[in-house]
Amino acid sequence: MSTSITPTLELRGLEVAYTVRGIDRQVLRDVSFSIAPGEAYGLVGESGCGKSTAAFAAMRYLPRNGKITGGSILFEGKDIVDIGEEDVAQLRRSAISMVYQNPATALNPTIRIGKQIAEVFELDGASKSDALAMAQAALTKVQISDPAQVMRRYAHQLSGGMAQRVVIAMALASNPRLLVMDEPTTGLDATVEAEVLDLVRELRRDTGTAVLFISHNLGVIRNMCDRVGVLYAGALVEQGATADLFNNPSHPYTVGLLRCIPRGGLHKSTDRLDTIPGTPPALGTHFDGCVFAARCALADDKCRTELPQMVTISGAHVARCFHSDKASSMPRSVEQIEIQSTPTHHLANVGESLLDVSHLSKVFTQDGHRIRVINDVSLSLGVGETLGLVGESGSGKTTIAKLVLGLVVPEEGGVIKLDGKGLAKTLNRRDVQDVGAMQIVFQNPDQALNRRHSVTRIVSRAVERLRGFSAQSSIERAHELLLGMRVEATLHGARPVQLSGGLKQRVAIARAFAGAPQIVLCDEPTSALDVSVQAAILNLLVDLQKQDKTSFIFISHDLGVVRYISDRIAVLYLGRVVEFGASQRVFNGPFHPYTEALLSSVPNIDGSIRKRIPLTGVVPSPSNPPSGCVLNPRCPRKVGSGYESMCESEEPNLNEVEPGHFMRCHIPMAKLKQLQS
């Protein structure tokens, strides 16, 4: 780094410890990095590695039991480790802003959004009415639909994506010199994520704001940051310019992380995802040697006993490893899972039609307005297949899952057929077989598992109810299932709170499989998990599918994951299926204009530059959908297609454009192909 410019933020040998139950547990070990004005520095690593702690320390905002035990934090050259509360407050008011991980807790639930944002401007001396106008402008800047209306809402009335946009609007309000972003786009849709990232990029370019960007998403980091640091167990294990680090990862942990990701082109039928064996060390573990030695394929005695120092790979690219030269050629780690065989209930052949959903609609009534959230959705799913549901938040993915399960009652005319047999619309009128045949793995295992019940009970009760087993044999079957999901016997008596996120999700999967289901709906099952855990869960799901011919409906906003696991894809927009077909068809094009935009907004892990097809404007409210094709105001292909007037006046049907490939678009296939080439 050049020494002539004072870095905006510099950490020198920072050590942070948390006092838990009277013992100091070290969470950051000798962390040093600096961020120049206008630079974006990315910190990556799995949860619990100290990313957020580094951010909190930089803002002098450690929790009460956290303390800085060594090193220094320099903000624009001034050490802020020992400055007083007043100076810290001043710093946060005018110089450093933070965007938190969880927008739901970052917003005050009792104050209307507009007033909450206006407060930031009022602190800067704006009058009440000016502040409100500025707040509305700030909301418009973060691409929120109908800002005037959002101003009057409370935090709980916003979707996760909208709430995070509000938080970002608030953080940007004070024109900070350092913006700390802690997983800012983790809960957002790909298109919104791309727009928010563009916004942050713009801000950096215009104002020279330095950004400390924390994310577990390597694709986002790759596209956002100039330099990257990889944290593991509180230690910086590798650091370098983004391209150097991604093209030539030189620490085994970085290599492992990159290999876990379901990258473009990988598919469950041919490729198994790598995982990182073992689990991250507990908080405050003491290490004699390398922090990663216990999980590293290259580790030898030296690694376990001697602390490696940073070695230079090339220029500013450094790695804390004795074997950095061998890291990129490290042997692959592909876990083979031995699953105890369960009786096969599904005698049908793979691909045979299993679930048929036709003309499903759902209207919610809110404040007297009728909101058509699902509009004439028809889908089909074969035995042993995975149907991926993709679309932005609010497109109705989860509602479709609930309709299929019977948790939400569809409007008249909707038909759900399982194995050719029509199902009752409400759950309590379905018989036990039908209920057990379709189960769900929810996104958030913390909410989906009753925290007062033991792991065994959570699974065994489902076995008891759905299979009619006796209490004792239910418990035995639950243990079998849990072991099959690789939840060790010692954990069967534990309560969910004592398990890691990945283990909790395995318990949830075990519960879903308790009734020997034919279809398991997975609603964002891995979006709360680290990539290495995600890889293991995806491998597990694929194995279960191969073994039992279980079908999945897989809902995810992560197109890489959906692409990896799905055989068919349904792309949803505003409660409508806009494209439906075999996975390869949908992903390889020609695309529906919406699919095209969605795919192009995914940050690329391989760093290849791809032209982003932007969706202009904002997602319209389902209570007042645009006339004609619902996508038309935002459609990237409408103008110049020659079908403009039709797009604006007439809603297209879901047409079969080639065998097994359906599209809801007026523009003919050939024309799309030509436009997209």
């Binding site: 989906a448 033991s454 759905l466 010692t490 069967h492 309560r495 709170v497 308790a514």
Partner: protein
């Protein structure tokens, strides 16, 4: 083996909370005072120095002394012994009344919060109407109607009056819980509503209920004391604190303060102790 680990898991969470609780100063003070009164409620006769109804005609209205620690009242009865023995009545009645209110309130709150809709609306309006009636007025009307005071009536009235508060607190907790996906998961294994309410949701709102119980218990102590002070709470002649205060307060004007002060202090101390405990519980269980 797994049952054992399950128990251990529950114990670790609980024992961690309890360890924090044991260090909480408010809890220590509150629990010590309450323990003293519960002890005297059970073994009152053993630690009382005289029979509570024994009248020493030689020492009517005598000031606190070594013989009569808290002095004697206008009938020459030992105030100390009466305060100690009187604790049983107030504790038992308050506890039973609160238990009744908590039981009915929790059941109604669970059902209302889970079913929502019209049942919830109608029930909550009725409960609001009940909570609008002052407890003292109801009690006095009941005494007037029956013609005498009775501890059973007191329990029923206080229990009824507390029902809306408990129901409202539990309902609010249940509203949040029933949105969580473990409830949907229970529906997806064909659980009956009763099971979902009492086996799935109730354990998760139990900490809230326990704290609400202690808060209500504090109020119940005051309510019972007030009613017996007004002569509407208990059978006449019982050595109850409220009755003692009622019988003796006019003596204050003749400088005979002890028969009034000590029962009053007793009421205050037990009410404060319960409030300290409920505050500590609120803090430790992060409610």
């Amino acid at each position: 083996m797994t049952d054992k680990t399950a128990k251990q898991a529950q114990q670790t969470e609980l024992s961690e909370r309890l360890a924090v609780l044991k260090k909480n100063k408010a809890f220590i003070v509150g629990a010590s005072i309450l323990a003293f009164w519960v002890f005297s409620a059970i073994f009152g006769k053993l630690i009382a120095r005289y029979d509570q109804d024994f009248m020493d005609y030689e020492a009517v209205n005598s000031a606190p002394s070594l013989k009569y620690w808290f002095g004697t009242d206008q009938s020459g009865r030992d105030v100390y012994s009466r305060v100690i023995v009187g604790s049983r009545i107030i504790i038992v009645i308050s506890f039973l009344a609160t238990l009744l209110g908590a039981f009915i309130g929790a059941s109604l709150g669970l059902i209302a919060g889970y079913l929502k809709g019209r049942f919830d609306m109608v029930l909550m309006r009725i409960l609001e109407a009940i909570s609008a009636i002052p407890v003292i007025i109801i009690a006095l009307l009941a005494v007037a109607a029956i013609g005498r005071s009775s501890s059973i009536i007191t329990i029923l009235i206080i229990g009824l009056i507390f029902t809306p508060n408990v129901a409202r607190t539990v309902r609010a907790a249940v509203l949040g819980e029933s949105e969580l996906e473990y409830v949907a998961a229970a529906k997806l294994r064909t659980e009956k509503t009763g099971h979902i309410l009492f086996r799935e949701v109730l354990p998760n709102v139990l900490p809230t209920l326990i704290v609400e119980f202690t808060v209500r218990l504090g109020y119940a102590i005051f309510a019972v004391a007030t009613l017996s002070f007004l002569g509407a709470g208990l059978e006449a002649g019982s050595p109850d604190w409220g009755t003692q205060v009622a019988d003796t307060w006019s003596l204050i004007f003749t400088n005979i303060w002890w028969p009034t002060l000590f029962p009053s202090l007793a009421i205050a101390s037990i009410a404060v102790s319960i409030n300290l405990i409920s505050d500590a519980l609120l803090e430790v269980f992060e409610l």
